[in-house]
Symmetry: C2
Subunit: 314 residues, 2 copies
């Protein structure tokens, strides 16, 4: 069984970029033509909304899959649509994996004991239906919340190891109130640094041939100094870095999340890519009708910007 | 709009007990007769499993609803079954509410910005389908994870206020590794105490006529001293206390979670009630065939034990 980190590095090499696109289909921003068609066919309800989301994702995947190797699905936008939304989530995962993409389920789950095992098997492994193992959501990795401690993470590590999957623990998030607890000084360091130490430990049994672990971290440090400290505390972790294209995030600051080998981080953008047609730059050029060309331009621009930042000119 | 805390107190008064039953339908423990029937009718797959779960819950609700006022659904056991599981979750929520029970969705979500708003509307409020508001999961309250700070909680508080719903923030969990972070000393107190202060603050704008807030806390302190400190830090919060009937949990230690008015806490049991027929005591008396009588005996025994502990003899 090839480890998650080796699979991830393989797909990043193949595509030549650490860019990740977030498929976060916020219903009110979906192209009107897609909503109109699906509401007409399936009803202006959860069913129609689920089908609209699936068509949007399908067309997005056709555009972006030649250019990027990893997609991230924020499950909230699917969960909000009930069973029809979860069906769209499953089908999107399958479509993306058929195109050779790695899929991260941005679920941020965190629970303990048998509940954690149930989540782990459902998202990364197989569910036992009365003795018959049935594939669950089948994503390549999930994001997790660390507040409940090691008991809430280790069932995922165990399942990740068995199925060649991975996980990213939220260490430091982008939002202003991440300071409420993550930046609290606990002894000689911030809480997020204490979490980072644990992430390194939790991942120590699932190191791939590349030297990287199947246990990664969600990191948006906010300051270069903290970013460097987190990188040092988790040398073997892949960082999932959100916030590309979001207000206030500086791409240059993301350089320090990469190790000297140019690996160790993936950079994620959601809204600025999939809803590129609503940004002033692309809106003027393409308008809403040509939303697919705006998406392609945005993803190519993201690739170029990241390559320039990394200094490899690709 | 009646506030969540007043609605909660109303139903606790009506039923005369702060007992909560957790509907956590672990598939391998479901009564064989229910599985057999539903697998035969719908297939030994997610569909059959979802229908088996729904029938089990329906029959559980018929037994327990005369005796208790609140049920808690651990969503992991539904989410694990895909769209069919989520459908069973929705239908169980509806059945329970029709019987006049309050329903807590034990989802432990935690995310920020628009994602948090999407989760909040889906679980506690209404989802906007192209201009039409459609009821979401419709639970009365959810559990939340605080690691991402106020940004991840306030969208729920806002939705809770608008719809008369509530939330319970995980402050201190039961599992051994809750010590990893929750017990970390940050300055003069433990992290969970810092979280407790925030819970009190987040709930300050949603106080009901009873004096209790719509923002509660999940608390399993582990030590009476910490339990008392948490009670003092969150005087207006309802505590959702897990662990009744679980190994090691002492009912007597739960007395201190209640305020002097005998209110302020609800005590939850899952496996020891719904799978009572697998415990030695009830197994011998009833066996698997009479699982419904074992459930009723277990829930009545829980009520009695809690009443004795509270010293009101009810």
């Amino acid at each position: 069984m090839k480890s998650f980190s080796d699979r991830l590095i393989g797909v990043l090499k193949e595509k030549g970029s650490p860019a990740v696109v977030g498929l976060d289909p916020q219903l009110d921003l979906l192209p009107p033509e897609i909503k109109r068609k699906n509401f007409k066919r399936y009803g202006r309800n959860f069913r129609g909304a689920g089908r609209a989301v699936l068509e949007f994702n399908h067309r997005l995947l056709n555009i972006i899959s030649p250019h990027i190797g990893v997609v991230k699905l924020q499950v909230a936008f699917y969960e909000a649509l009930g069973p029809h939304g979860i069906e769209a989530y499953q089908k999107t995962v399958n479509l993306a994996r058929k195109k050779g993409l790695l899929v991260i389920g941005d679920v941020k789950r965190g629970d303990v004991g048998h509940t954690a095992e149930t989540y782990a098997r459902a998202h990364l492994g197989e569910v036992d239906i009365d003795g018959t193992p049935v594939s669950g959501y089948g994503v390549d990795a999930v994001t997790l919340n660390p507040y409940l401690g090691g008991d809430s993470i280790m069932p995922f590590v165990k399942t990740a190891k068995a199925y060649g999957r991975g996980l990213f623990v939220v260490v430091k998030s982008t939002n202003p109130s991440s300071r409420d607890f993550q930046n609290k000084r606990c002894g000689t360091e911030m809480l997020c640094e204490t979490v980072a130490r644990k992430v390194d430990k939790w991942g120590s049994g699932v190191i791939g041939e590349s030297g990287y672990s199947a246990v990664g971290a969600v990191v948006a440090a906010g300051s270069p100094a903290l970013g460097r400290r987190l990188r040092r505390l988790m040398p073997r972790a892949f960082f999932l870095v959100p916030g590309y294209g979001a207000q206030g995030a500086k791409l240059e600051d993301m350089r320090l999340y990469f190790n000297d080998d140019g690996r160790g981080a993936i950079i994620s953008a959601s809204r600025s890519i999939i809803f590129a047609y609503e940004s002033p730059a692309w809106k003027k050029k393409y308008g809403m009708r040509d939303w697919e060309r705006a998406v392609e331009d945005a993803v190519l621009s993201m690739r170029r910007n990241i390559a320039r930042m990394l200094g490899n000119g690709r």
